[in-house]
Amino acid sequence: MIMAEAFQFELVSPERLLVSEQVEAVVIPGAEGEMTVMAHHAPVMTTIKPGVVTVKTAGGKEERYVVFGGFADILPSGCTLLAESAVAVGDIDRADLARRIQDAKEDAADAKDDQSRSKAEQFLAQLTTLESALLAA
């Protein structure tokens, strides 16, 4: 297989910088669908939904991180992912995930108008998809 060109990828959560390294490809759960970012990608800025970010490092390793919303800033020279909260898939805390789902459920129930309710329900749906995806893995 031909080695793809590497580019700089950074995964940042408010608490710390999780990843900053040369990677070949990153799969990002964009708000409007998953996207794979490789070197020389056109500049895009997108919000991301809760999901799994798959990072293929220049060394050929594959790492997976769970992110809970945020956004990605993609430039030809690199990609920065600002996640609201991010953990490596191996370290995911099921109880924490369950708590988030519970919170989302309450948010959906408490929503005052249709717009915020549909938003909360959408978020809840994304979370449950994520949970089932993780359970399957």
Binding site: E10, V12, S13, P14, E15, R16, L17, G30, A31, E32, A42, P43, V44, M45, T46, T47, G70, F71, D73, L75, P76, S77, T80, L82, E84, S85
Partner: protein, 294 residues
């Protein structure tokens, strides 16, 4: 005149106090290091957030679709002050400095005929402000139970503020906290977070901004998502700076206390020795004069 026994007790108690302050200083030093690390670890996120924000505002070009959180309500009648202080005392002038800044600000606003609302984060600020402005305090947020400050804590505060703004509870929100400069210097700071002054983003922040971005979804929508998050980040940064500042202030306060206790022990020991000497002399005189009388 205290007796020898009294002096001995005093010295023992001051020594015990010194041990405590010394221990507190060391604990503060360890916590300070951790707080500093946390503050440093959080820096990349807020920096990049600033970059992204600058890029996107440039793209929108101050168009009419900027969210209200950015442009404000167009009035400045009701001010919300979020005053962040420590949960515990024994850290020198740290809390009172922040409270003083907030109080000056409140006084100025009230003199201008504005309405003031306060949210206190941390017990100490609440205790100080309650005396004069108790009726203005909307809420007191307690972080005492929080062991390690997480983004969720900041997010919860920011959400409350944004919710209030949505309800039309205030026009301008200012965040009060202490900027951590060094162990001996923390600078109380007032920072306006709503409406967010993005215009102050540094010029070099737009490097790479000449590229034409594609936005998914629309820029306005992203911005609407981004601004509240940015407020959370600002609050988070303030809390982290405060945590580091508190520990720094505590460390130097306890260092001073330890030194003062040392001085006190020295002085007391001198008095003690002098008195002991005086007593020995007195006893000798008694013996000698007794012998002479024989």
């Amino acid at each position: 005149m205290p007796s020898l026994k009294d002096l001995r007790n005093r010295i023992a108690s001051v020594k015990a106090t010194q041990k405590i302050t010394k221990a507190m200083q060391m604990v503060a030093a360890a916590k300070l290091r951790r707080a500093q690390e946390a503050a440093e670890a959080a820096r990349p996120y807020s920096e990049r957030m600033g970059l992204v924000l600058a890029n996107i505002t440039q793209a929108i070009g101050g168009g009419g679709d900027a969210p209200a959180l950015m442009t404000g309500t167009g009035k400045d009648d009701v001010h919300l002050l979020v005053v962040c202080t420590a949960e515990r005392g024994l850290c020198g002038g740290f809390n009172s400095q922040i409270a003083r800044l907030a109080r000056d600000h409140i006084r100025r606003l009230l003199a201008d005929g504005k309405q003031v609302k306060i949210i206190c984060v941390g017990k100490k600020g609440y205790d100080i402000l309650r005396r004069d402005y108790g009726s203005m305090i909307l809420e007191r947020i307690d972080l005492r139970e929080v062991k390690t400050l997480g983004f969720v804590n900041a997010d919860a505060i920011a959400r409350k503020v944004i919710y209030l703004f949505g309800e039309g509870g205030f026009d301008i929100c200012t965040l009060f906290y202490s900027q951590f400069k060094s162990v001996i210097s923390q600078i109380p700071t007032a920072q306006q977070i709503i409406p967010a002054g993005v215009a102050s983003a540094p010029a070099e922040a737009t490097v790479g901004g000449n590229a034409v971005y594609e936005y998914e979804p629309e820029p306005g929508e992203i911005l609407a998502d981004l601004i509240p998050r940015n407020i959370s980040v600002q609050v988070f940064r303030a809390l982290l700076e405060n945590a580091a500042g508190e520990m720094g202030a505590k460390m130097s306060a306890m260092d001073n206390a330890t030194r003062n206790a040392g001085d006190m022990i020295n002085k007391l020991s001198i008095t003690y020795n002098r008195q002991r000497q005086a007593q020995i002399t007195k006893e000798l005189i008694e013996i000698i004069s007794g012998a002479e009388a024989l």
